[in-house]
C-alpha cells in the first residue's frame, strides 16, 4: 500500500490528493532534486544513494542518451557528444559564447539560440537541459511514488528573459510543470529560513565547481529583492584543484605528464583539497605510468598560500556588488554560503573577515539551493503550514497602468506590488454614443503617458451606445508568478470583452528600470502640476461636449440672447483649455456652468413633461404600485 508522510495538524491530504512538488537546482556542473517530506526538506538520491546528478548528457548514435555519472565517466572518450555545462549555452546565440574554440563541440548557429551537432543529431541547449530535468523528474517520481504536481526550478539571478524562458521550455519538454522559476540566491536564503528573519540585507556567496556568483538581497515584507549581482563565470573549485596540481608538479619536480597521469593527479589534488576541509595535513600518494612515485604532504598553510589569489579574486566582485547596491559591509545582516567550494576553510575565513561576521554554513552548501527550492515548491502547491500559506518573492519593478483622456496615466498595479496579483478598476466612456474604447497599457512611474513605456494597445469594441459616463468598463490587470501581464477590458452591461497578454519586463534592463525610477523622483512636482492641468483640460472638454450636445437637442429652450451667451462661454472655455493656465480653465468652466444652470433646469422640466405627457394620475399610481410590488417580491 501507499507510504504516508506526516502532515501538519489538520492538513492531512485526502486520498489521491497528495500534492507532490519538488525543487530543482539545475546547476552548471551538478543538478539536484529535493522535496519536503513530513515537514522536512530533503534531497532525493538515486538508486545508489548519490544525491548529485552531474549535469552531463552524452548522446549516442542510436539517438538515445545517457545522463549523469554514466555520461561523465565517458566524457573524455567521447567529448564531442558529451555535453557538459550546457547551462552556459541556455538562451544564448553563437556570438554570445566566449572561448568556444576551446570547446570540443560542433556548434551550429540558429536564430535565437545556438545548436550542438551530436551523434544523435542537432540538439538545442534546451533539449540537453530537458534530458537532465527528465532524469531528475523520474528520480523524484520514483522516490515520491506518484506524478509531480509541479517543480520550482532555480536560475541564476542574472539570467535574462531569454535564458529563463529557455529553462522553462526545457522543463516543458521534460514533462515537468513549472510552478515558478526562483533565483538561486533567493532559494539559498529561503533554505536558511531568512524569509522569516528580520527585514534586512543579505549576501549570498556562491562558489561552485566552475562559477562564482555573489548576490546582494534585500528582504522586505517577506519579499526578496535582488539589489545587485556579480561574479566570475570562470572561477570555481576546479581552479583550486588546478593550483594544487601545479604545486604538485613543482614540489615533486615532475616532467611533462601524459593525459592519464594529469587526470589522475588532478583527482588526487581534488581529494587532498576535500581532505583539508577537516584535517590539517593531507598526504598525496600516487604512482605515475612511468612507475615514478609521487609522495607529498599538503598542509592547510601551503594550500592557503597557493590559493590566496583565487580567494582574493572572489572578494573583488563582492566589493563591486556592494558598491552597485549602494551599501557597505556594515549593512549586511547575514552571509549565506553556497556551493561545495565554500567548504574550504580559507574561503570561509576570507568571507568571514570581509563581512566581519561568521557566514551561515550549517546546511550542506551543495544542497542548500535545492532545499530552498523544495520549500518554496511545497508552499506553492499548498502543503505549507497554516499561517505562512503564501510566500511572495517577486515584485513588479515598475507600475503598470492605462492611458486615460488627456494622455494621463492611471496606475492600476503600483510598483513593488507582489506577484501574482490582480487589480481591477472601472472606466467609462467619454463621449455620448461611444462604442469603442482604446486600451493603452503603459509601464512607468510618471504621470504622463509620453514619459512612460508603452507595452501594448488593444480596442474594446461593441460597447452599446449610451450617454457619456453611463458605460461601465471593468479593466483587469493580472500578473502571474512569472511576470506575465494579462489585461482584460469588459463592458458590464453588454458583456463584450477584449484582452491582451504582455510581458512587462521584456527588454528592460535593471539599469533602464533604475533610470525610469530616478526620473519619476526628479519629476514628482512637475508631474503633479502637469497632471492637474491635464485633468482640468479633460474636464473642460467633457463640459463642452455635454453643453454642445444639450444645445443640439434642446437649443430651442433658450432665447437668442441666452444662446449667444452660452455659445460665448463655450468659445471662451475652449480657448482656455487649449492654453496651459489651469486657473483660467477653472474660471471659464465656472462661468459656463453658471451660464447654463437655468438651461439645465429647463431641460429637466421638459423631460419630465415629456415623460408624463398624455397619461393620467391613476396610470401613474398603478405604475408606482407595480414598482413597489416588484421591490417586495
Amino acid at each position: 500500500m501507499a507510504l504516508l508522510q506526516i502532515a501538519e495538524p489538520g492538513e492531512s491530504a485526502a486520498p489521491h490528493q497528495h500534492r507532490l512538488a519538488v525543487g530543482i537546482d539545475l546547476g552548471t556542473t551538478n543538478s539536484l532534486v529535493a522535496t519536503v517530506r513530513s515537514g522536512l526538506a530533503v534531497v532525493l538520491s538515486d538508486e545508489l544513494g548519490r544525491p548529485l546528478l552531474p549535469s552531463v548528457v552524452r548522446y549516442l548514435p542510436d539517438g538515445s542518451s545517457e545522463v549523469g555519472y554514466e555520461a561523465q565517466a565517458r566524457q573524455s572518450l567521447d567529448p564531442r557528444n558529451s555535453i557538459v555545462s550546457v547551462k552556459r549555452f541556455m538562451g544564448r546565440g553563437l556570438q554570445d559564447i566566449a572561448h568556444r574554440e576551446g570547446m570540443p563541440y560542433v556548434f551550429d548557429d540558429a536564430p535565437g539560440m545556438l545548436r550542438l551537432q551530436t551523434a544523435a543529431g542537432r540538439k538545442s541547449p534546451v533539449e540537453v537541459s530537458a534530458e537532465i530535468l527528465r532524469t531528475l523528474r523520474l528520480r523524484a517520481e520514483a522516490s515520491l511514488g506518484g506524478p509531480l504536481v509541479g517543480a520550482v526550478i532555480t536560475v541564476p539571478a542574472y539570467f535574462d528573459d531569454a535564458q529563463r524562458q529557455a529553462t522553462k521550455d526545457a522543463a516543458r519538454i521534460a514533462g515537468l510543470p513549472v510552478l515558478r522559476l526562483l533565483n538561486e540566491p533567493t532559494a539559498a536564503a529561503i533554505a536558511y529560513g531568512l524569509d522569516n528573519a528580520s527585514e534586512s540585507i543579505y549576501a549570498v556567496y556562491d562558489l561552485g565547481g566552475g562559477t562564482f556568483d555573489i548576490s546582494i538581497l534585500r528582504l522586505a515584507r517577506g519579499i526578496f529583492e535582488v539589489l545587485a549581482t556579480g561574479g566570475d563565470s570562470a572561477l570555481g573549485g576546479d581552479d583550486f584543484d588546478h593550483r594544487i596540481f601545479c604545486w604538485m608538479l613543482e614540489a615533486a619536480q615532475l616532467k611533462p605528464l601524459s593525459v592519464e597521469d594529469s587526470r589522475m593527479l588532478l583527482t588526487r589534488a581534488r581529494e587532498a583539497k576535500e581532505y583539508l576541509t577537516f584535517h590539517g595535513v593531507a598526504p598525496i600518494n600516487a604512482r605515475l605510468n612511468s612507475g615514478e612515485a609521487v609522495d607529498l604532504t599538503l598542509t592547510t598553510e601551503i594550500f592557503a598560500e597557493i590559493s590566496q589569489t583565487l580567494v582574493a579574486k572572489t572578494i573583488q566582485p563582492v566589493k563591486k556588488a556592494l558598491r552597485d547596491a549602494g551599501l557597505s559591509v556594515a549593512d549586511v545582516k547575514g552571509v549565506v554560503m553556497v556551493g561545495g567550494a565554500t567548504r574550504m576553510p580559507q574561503v570561509q575565513h576570507a568571507v568571514g573577515e570581509f563581512f566581519r561576521q561568521e557566514p551561515l554554513n550549517n546546511l550542506d552548501p551543495d544542497k542548500v539551493v535545492a532545499i530552498g527550492a523544495a520549500k518554496q515548491a511545497n508552499l506553492l502547491v499548498g502543503n505549507g503550514l497554516a499561517g505562512d500559506d503564501w510566500l511572495l518573492l517577486d515584485v513588479i519593478p515598475l507600475s503598470l497602468g492605462l492611458e486615460t483622456m488627456g494622455g494621463l496615466v492611471e496606475k492600476i498595479i503600483p510598483r513593488n506590488a507582489t506577484i501574482p496579483t490582480a487589480r481591477a478598476q472601472e472606466f467609462t466612456t467619454f463621449r455620448d454614443g461611444q462604442t469603442a474604447l482604446a486600451v493603452h497599457v503603459v509601464q512607468g512611474e510618471r504621470e504622463l503617458v509620453s514619459d512612460c513605456r508603452s507595452l501594448a494597445r488593444f480596442e474594446l469594441r461593441g460597447i452599446p451606445p449610451m450617454v457619456a459616463g453611463a458605460a461601465r468598463i471593468r479593466v483587469t490587470f493580472q500578473v502571474d508568478a512569472d511576470g506575465l501581464l494579462a489585461v482584460t477590458a469588459r463592458e458590464q452591461t453588454a458583456g463584450v470583452e477584449a484582452s491582451i497578454v504582455v510581458k512587462p519586463s521584456y527588454g528592460l534592463s535593471d539599469g533602464e528600470i533604475a533610470g525610469m525610477l530616478r526620473d519619476s523622483m526628479l519629476h514628482v512636482r512637475d508631474d503633479a502640476l502637469q497632471r492637474a492641468l491635464k485633468e482640468s483640460q479633460v474636464d473642460a472638454q467633457r463640459l463642452i461636449e455635454a453643453v454642445s450636445s444639450a444645445l443640439a437637442t434642446d437649443g430651442d429652450l433658450l432665447s437668442g440672447e441666452e444662446l449667444a451667451r452660452v455659445e460665448h462661454g463655450i468659445v471662451k472655455l475652449q480657448g482656455a483649455a487649449s492654453g496651459e493656465n489651469r486657473r483660467q480653465i477653472m474660471l471659464a468652466m465656472d462661468d459656463l456652468e453658471a451660464e447654463t444652470k437655468d438651461f439645465a433646469a429647463r431641460r429637466m422640466d421638459k423631460s419630465i413633461r415629456r415623460a408624463f405627457a398624455g397619461r393620467n394620475i391613476s396610470e401613474l399610481d398603478s405604475e408606482v404600485l407595480a414598482t413597489r410590488a416588484g421591490e417586495t417580491a
Binding site: 506526516i6 502532515a7 489521491h16
Partner: protein, 107 residues
C-alpha cells in the same frame, strides 16, 4: 485496545519532531473519504484534546480521537522503504479491503 509504533517508525517520528522544533506527539485517525470509504490521518500533534486516547511507543506519544480508535485498534505504524520511496505504513488488522493504492480502505 492499543495502537503501537514500530521501533523504526518511532525513531523517524522522534527525528522529525526534533527538526520541526515543536509538537507533543503524533496524531492518528481515520476519516470518511476516498474511493474505498475511509482514509488515514497522520499528523503532528501540537495540542491534546480532552477526550483523546493516548498511547506511548518507544518514547513517542500517540494521540487518537475516540471515534477513530475502533478502526485503528491493533494497528502498528511502521516505517518502510520501497525502492526510492519511503514513508509510514499502517499495518491495520481491521482492514477488510483497500483500494488499489491502499490510500483508502474499508473495515
Amino acid at each position: 485496545m492499543a495502537v503501537t509504533l514500530s521501533e523504526r517508525a518511532a525513531s523517524h517520528v522522534a527525528n522529525y519532531m526534533v527538526k520541526r522544533g515543536k509538537g507533543i506527539g503524533l496524531r492518528l485517525g481515520v476519516r470518511t473519504s476516498g474511493c474505498s470509504g475511509m482514509a488515514y490521518k497522520l499528523e503532528f500533534a501540537d495540542v491534546a484534546h480532552p477526550d483523546d486516547i493516548q498511547f506511548e511507543s518507544y518514547g513517542v506519544r500517540v494521540l487518537i480521537d475516540p471515534k477513530s480508535l475502533p478502526y485503528l485498534d491493533g494497528t502498528e505504524l511502521d516505517y518502510a522503504r520501497e525502492g526510492l520511496n519511503e514513508g509510514f505504513r499502517f499495518n491495520n488488522p481491521n482492514v477488510k479491503d483497500a483500494c488499489g493504492c491502499g490510500e483508502s480502505f474499508n473495515v
